[in-house]
Amino acid sequence: MNQATSVDVKTLAEGLARADRSCVANALNLIDDKRPGAHEQALQLLTAIDGERLNQGGHLIGITGPPGAGKSSLLSALLERWCHRGLQVAVLAVDPSSPKTGGALLGDRLRMSAAGQHKNLFIRSLASRQQLGGLAPEVWPMSRALLAGYDLVLVETVGVGQSEIDVANIVDTTVYVVQPASGDSIQFLKSGIMEVPDIMVVNKSDLGSIATKAANELTQVLHRSEQHTAWQRPVCKLSARDREGIDALEEALKAHRDHLRAQNSLTSGRMQQQVAYIIRQLNDEFGSHGIKKLGGSKQIAAHCQSLHGTGQMLASYNAWVEELRR
């Protein structure tokens, strides 16, 4: 198989920090690249941007929920505001791949940036590429690369199969969007993903009383389940179409981020995401056998955590890879 072309990692890293469009695009291409040689370079890149910024800067937000709930429309409403205020915003939009052919149709860019083009907005669509509907493994490192230069990084994914749980595992704040159709809140309860959302959204409030009813039901259910937790998960009733109720969602997003910071869990959460990613990568390449050789996933996690903040975590991952290959 042909080798990946070698890139100047340092220039890319600097470009990422500046949100230089061309560098951002190339960095994402590199992370996506499965050719021999690309992987190492991608890791070098991720190592090069590691540091303060990735530990506690920006806000990584996941938006998930059933098909057609209005996730992209809601994103559009948020993007409009943020871009208008001059914030740098990046979006990773994940669409399902055909399980049979691997092909995918990606087409949400304009639905999301209806307000027109913004020089401070970057959207990359991605196919899920997973047989069982989970999240593509590239999403986490991509979101991390974007965090280097963007104030807000959003991941949109259709909540089918594994993906809503996957996305919750890689972001700071998970927003779960439902439509007010009757039975949806019950569906939500049944689906066993109660733990996923940090913020619940009932979209299409313009449809009237069914939206109010759905929001009330969900509020009851959520609050019953978390009387003792520090974060009371809000239920935002809004209309992405009519741009109603977006303020409250924005407030909730900010509040959740502040909450994470106050609890010191923004940084630790990000660290856990990184550790999980490393373990998954090792597992994908070397299987449980490889993990065992390195002393098991607990051991690996502990070692990684001890390196946290030193910028050495990915370097030691590289060392493990070398070791296992030998």
């Binding site: 198989m1 042909n2 990946a4 469009r21 061309s22 951002v24 695009a25 190339n26 994402l28 291409n29 996506d32 690249d33 499965k34 050719r35 690309a38 057609g68 791949s97 055909s98 049979k100 052919t101 691997g102 092909g103 995918a104 149709l105 990606l106 087409g107 860019r109 304009l110 639905r111 209806a114 083009q117 970057f122 959207i123 990359r124 669509s125 196919a127 590429r129």
Partner: protein, 665 residues
């Protein structure tokens, strides 16, 4: 001699290009040749509410129709044509209320009573979202504009057909006869319901509204079935108007329709065969007296090559005249009555249509079916199935997948390539003219008229009086639409290409291609990612949709965002998405300008090397120049083999990435 012959239908030719002056000359020449009605084709900037000097109009001014920006343009277009004696059909939709306002204002300027005007504004937004693509506003406000034109015209311009519900364009986007019946009739009911709900028409006058609703229908090559479709329409409409709207007067229940026959099936290969197709398709809509068309316009033999010249249009007009005046068709009562075969076939279509009408209603009606993408997906799917049937040689198209050998055609060897080409210089002339026009008028009056228009738009008064006032004040098309854009916002319709599953192509070829795509993806390090894009105002989406669907079926990751993108949006998408290739699709004649703008944009962001292909209506004699400017490959309708196109696209990606090419399939 037995009884006198029936009166023939209105004989029309859909035309307009370059300028109001040039189009007026064409209309007068056509009328002199025996044409009995006018059918105006507007250019795309006019149809989408932009003046010639708007950045989005670039490359499109005067290309596929006439640009009409203000009352003086309208005056020139109808120079020496007495409005009270004309029957004028205008293919205009999002800005229909405005064009009707200009026409009424022109009548007033000339001292003609608007009550004497007769003709049609197409004014059907549903098929714009589903097929035709010149919509501007979201569904709600669009429907309101339709209701306003109807409620204004019925009392004030009583011989006008304010809306013309179209199934024509649905067939051109792949619809089956059942889908045509179901979606057109559902739309008609939606419009009538909305008029009734608006409360603008007293209940006792409602039958007049029903009586003014007309239709625009297609007729394809399966002419027996198509003839039955017309009978089905007639029967179903009679039922609907009686039962749903309680119309007693049988005359007001008549299914009045005009026709343009099928053009999607007209081929670039052996184009002379299109003449036989056109004749047979026409037969379908005139044969059955009880379901005969009121007006007919025919495409020309060179439909798939480019715009028709006056001689090409004359040939098509003569087809109608031979049918009407030489044959004995108009001497008989309905010759199909009493045929059990026809009765059965009509019933089958009626049953199928009723089922689909119920399905649309179940999902919340037509507008919900637009917004969810349900109806558009249904069309994309039908079209894909048609193309796959041709691919498997189950559907015969003479000259395309059978009997392909041919002698050289003298029709296409003339110096002009057998088509009309609009001079690129007209665009600048219109830009200069509109700038001068704006400087010469009373801008204070214009400002006031527009302010009033916006106020009406925000409220619930009828939009027509304020629009007619705008017309007299010298407001332009771009200003009228711009004001309403501010109030109503704009709308992008679903693309419909997210249809699931396979569509039955040639399994051997497809799996060979799938392997090539997968192998190339491995060698590139990630799956082939293709951007399919439609730059400019062009609404012809079929080609782009089918390329996108096929590419996905073969395993590519395809980015497609629908019609009417700016070159800047396309460049941004190419960069942000990290695609391996860009495929542009342009059928509106603006391919030269669009290629230049996209290629320049790509170079500016350092993607000058990215392979860019282009498909659509691109005359042979322009290929070389396009390739020199940087277009890697060009496809036109004669490249109807989608698998062959895909094989080439894979190889282009490969050679661009220095991989060995596979060669032809």
């Amino acid at each position: 001699m037995s009884k006198p012959k029936d009166r023939p239908w209105l004989l029309r030719t859909y035309s307009g290009h370059s300028s109001a002056r040039a189009s007026n000359e064409l209309y007068r020449a056509n009328l002199a040749k025996g044409q009995t009605g006018l059918s105006v084709a507007f250019d795309l900037p006019t149809q989408t509410g932009y003046d010639p000097d708007h950045p989005l109009a670039r490359g499109e001014v005067g290309k596929v129709g006439v640009p009409i920006s203000h009352l003086d343009d309208m005056d020139v277009l109808f120079d020496q044509l007495p409005l009270d004696q004309m029957n004028t059909s205008m293919t205009i939709n999002a800005v229909a209320a405005w064009m009707l306002a200009l026409y009424i204002a022109l009548a007033e300027r000339r001292g003609v009573d608007p009550a004497k005007l007769s003709g049609t504004t197409q004014n059907d937004i549903v098929k714009e979202y589903l097929s035709r693509g010149t919509h501007i506003f979201p569904p709600g406000p669009s429907l309101r504009l339709i209701v306003d034109t109807i409620t204004y015209s019925v009392p004030n311009v009583p011989k006008w057909n304010p809306t013309n519900i179209c199934s024509y364009h649905l067939q051109e986007a792949g619809a089956t006869p059942v889908q045509e019946l179901a979606y057109a009739l559902s739309t008609a009911m939606m419009v009538l319901d909305a008029v009734r709900k608006s409360g603008q028409i007293p209940e006792q006058d409602f039958p007049n509204v029903v009586g003014r609703l007309s239709f625009f229908v297609n007729a394809g090559i399966r002419f027996v079935e198509e003839c039955c479709k017309m009978r089905a329409f007639t029967q179903m409409w009679d039922n609907i108007t009686r039962e749903r709207y309680g119309v007693e007067d049988a005359k007001k229940r008549r299914f009045r329709y005009g026709v343009q026959v099928n053009s999607l099936g007209l081929t670039e290969q052996q184009p002379e065969n299109n003449v036989q197709r056109i004749v047979l398709e026409m037969l379908a809509v005139v044969l059955s007296k009880d379901a005969r068309a009121r007006a007919v316009q025919l495409p020309a033999w060179n439909e798939a090559l480019g715009l028709p010249r006056p001689w090409d249009q004359q040939w098509s007009l003569r087809i109608q005249q031979v049918m009407a005046f030489e044959t004995d068709l108009l001497e008989y009562d309905d010759i199909l009555d009493g045929s059990p075969v026809i009765v059965d076939k009509v019933q089958e279509l009626v049953d199928g249509a009723n089922e689909e009408i119920a399905r649309v209603a179940e999902q919340g009606g037509v507008l919900a079916g637009i917004e969810s993408g349900y109806m558009k997906q249904a069309l994309v799917k039908s079209h894909a199935e048609r193309l796959r049937a041709i691919e498997r040689n189950e559907l015969t198209i003479v000259g395309v997948n059978k009997y392909t050998e041919t002698a050289e055609s003298p029709l296409t060897t003339s110096g002009d390539g057998g088509i009309m080409k609009v001079d690129d210089a007209v665009e600048q002339q219109h830009i200069d003219a509109i700038v001068a026009f704006r400087a010469s008028r009373d801008n204070k009056k214009v400002g006031e008229a527009l302010a009033r228009l916006k106020q009406v738009a925000q409220g619930s008064d009828n939009i027509m009086p304020a629009s007619i006032a705008c017309a007299h004040a010298g407001v332009t098309t771009g200003e009228w639409a711009g004001a309403l854009r501010e109030v109503f916002g704009e709308y992008r319709a679903p693309t419909g290409i997210d249809i699931s599953g396979q569509h039955g192509g040639d399994e051997n070829l497809e799996s060979a291609l799938r392997e090539r795509v997968a192998k190339t993806g491995e060698e590139l390090g990630r799956p082939i990612k293709l951007l399919v894009a439609k730059p400019g105002l062009d609404g012809h989406s079929n080609g782009a949709e089918q390329i996108a669907v096929k590419a996905r079926e073969l395993g590519m990751e395809v980015v497609y965002e629908g019609i009417r993108l700016t070159p800047q949006q396309i460049v941004a998408a190419a960069q942000e998405e990290g695609v391996h290739m860009v495929g542009l699709s342009v059928l509106s004649g603006s391919h030269g300008a669009m290629a230049e703008m996209v290629l320049d944009g790509l170079r500016e962001v350092g993607l000058g090397e990215l392979p860019v292909t282009m498909g659509g209506i691109i005359p042979d004699n322009e290929h070389e120049a396009l390739k020199r400017s940087g277009i890697a490959a060009i496809y036109t309708p004669k490249d109807s083999d989608l698998n062959a196109i895909m094989a080439e696209m894979v190889d282009l990606t490969r050679s661009h990435n220095k991989l060995k090419v596979f060669g032809a399939l």
